[in-house]
Amino acid sequence: MITFLIYLPFLLLFVVVAVYAERKISAFVQTRVGPIEVGPMGLFQTIADLLKMLQKEDIRPFAIDKFLFLVAPLIVFASIFTGFSVLPFTQGVAGSEITTGVFFLLGVISLDVLGILMAGWGSNNKFSVLGAMRAVAQIVSYEIPLGLSVLAVVMLCGTLDLQEISSYQGVANQTDSFFLGIPALDVGNIGGFLSWNIFQMPILVVAFVVFFISSLAEANRVPFDLPESESELIGGYHTEYSGFRWGLFMLSEYGMMLLVSFLAAILFFGSWQSPLPNIGFLELANWTNGPVWGVFWLFSKAMFFILLQMMVRWTYPRLRVDQLMTLSWKYLTPISILVLFIVGIWKLALI
């Protein structure tokens, strides 16, 4: 219910704001000004674009496979939006509190490959098929380092439930938490950023980098936007789409961005826990934690990762297909296996 009442409207709002932010950030990085005409500071530019997009004709090319073509955007969006259902919202409030939260999330968002392949194949277009094949190869490859880096966190916390992983990283924690994984430094009562997973187990920094890179690839973001690569594939798998169906692809792309940002915040950066620790009588962690604060912390952390994703997009050029595969199989996968191993040993040593 939380998902429908909060995450769906938030996702729609986020897409409008994020497209604007993306334009502004790209403009500032390239010493331009970005949209300035529609509304104050160009704020309504995305809304104008949205209205334009909704009015467009729903073009269905003659030679398409009708069923696949029409169903594909729905599958892509549905699979990504289902991923939001297991996200915690704030302290004590979560969408669906299933014990296999992360597992379910990773499983269900990998279904969007199916939708992308359907879209590419159904379009009966060379560019679309090429894009779809690239997407499948890429997403399937990057699922492995992504899954392994998530698994490292799951091993540390000993649970798959995202809400439990969240509460593990702060003052509300029932078990002990150790700063930098050193038993002498018990930060169970101090909280703050000291008890975030990434500080409890410093090797998770590496896991986070692997997670961040793979999540970019999962979301088809630059520098891993080979499935879309508008400069070579004219949009890839959504070349033939227009109007609202294209909008659904757009929505799911930004939804994926948001989802992996939330996931990064939850898994590594303390979820809805405040970054401020208790220092003596200044009980900042206790004061700045709670259901209302939780929403603020979780969403601002996610927004920070969105900013990072956007900056990455406007910094790096697109990878070649072979470079993409090399990065995944030869670098990220071995590194994440190594991290998983180290986390396991460390965890054993702690107990």
């Binding site: 950030i25 403009a27 500032f28 010493t31 331009r32 000004v33 900056m311 910094t315 030869k330 670098y331």
Partner: protein
Amino acid sequence: MKAYFQNIALAISTSLEGLKLTFKYLFEAREKRTPIGVEDENYFDQDKGIATLQYPFESLPVPDNARYKLHNEIDDCIVCDKCAKICPVNCIDIEPVRSAEVIGSTSDGTAKRLYAAKFDIDMAKCCFCGLCTTVCPTECLTMTKAYDFSEFDVKDHNYSFAEMSLVEIAQKQQEFNDFQAAKLAAAKPPKSDQPSGAEKPKVVKPKPQVKVKPAFKPKPMIRKKPTDDGDK
């Protein structure tokens, strides 16, 4: 194996370097470059901030020697036709109406003896060479700094500088014709009818060309050009 770890180190360091650069630009985008021309001494100091020039709202200063839209100060024009003659693309179209006596003087004191019935400059044809402004004896024809004069119709690029109405033109023409006729009548008795027609231009035409010398003396450097043109 060594290359493998070197690759990782290189990837990390270069990626961080790239991110550092873009974040620097993002941070510097708080400022905006002021639109100053290249001749400003601070021009090369401006290497930060938003570079976009929002043209209709702001524009770079035009250099003093810029050659853009032509302007003719018709009050100072002596209708000598030099500009039209030198123009490589024939974009200046002048129709003079002769006058019997001096009709006024320009701001530099040159006597005016011709009315400009038509002084059209077709900026669509203009090649912006600036030759017309160098030959102009009274410096009434100048290139201004106005460069944004695009039109929807190419015909609108034909700028007319003459200020005379059709009635005025006809009137002045009539006055000159009357004067000429009177002169002919005066000249007739001693001479026969025949040469009068041939004499007409001879008598009048050389006069203004010889006499109309600009009071303004061009600098010695520039003086060469008119002589060159004269040779042609």
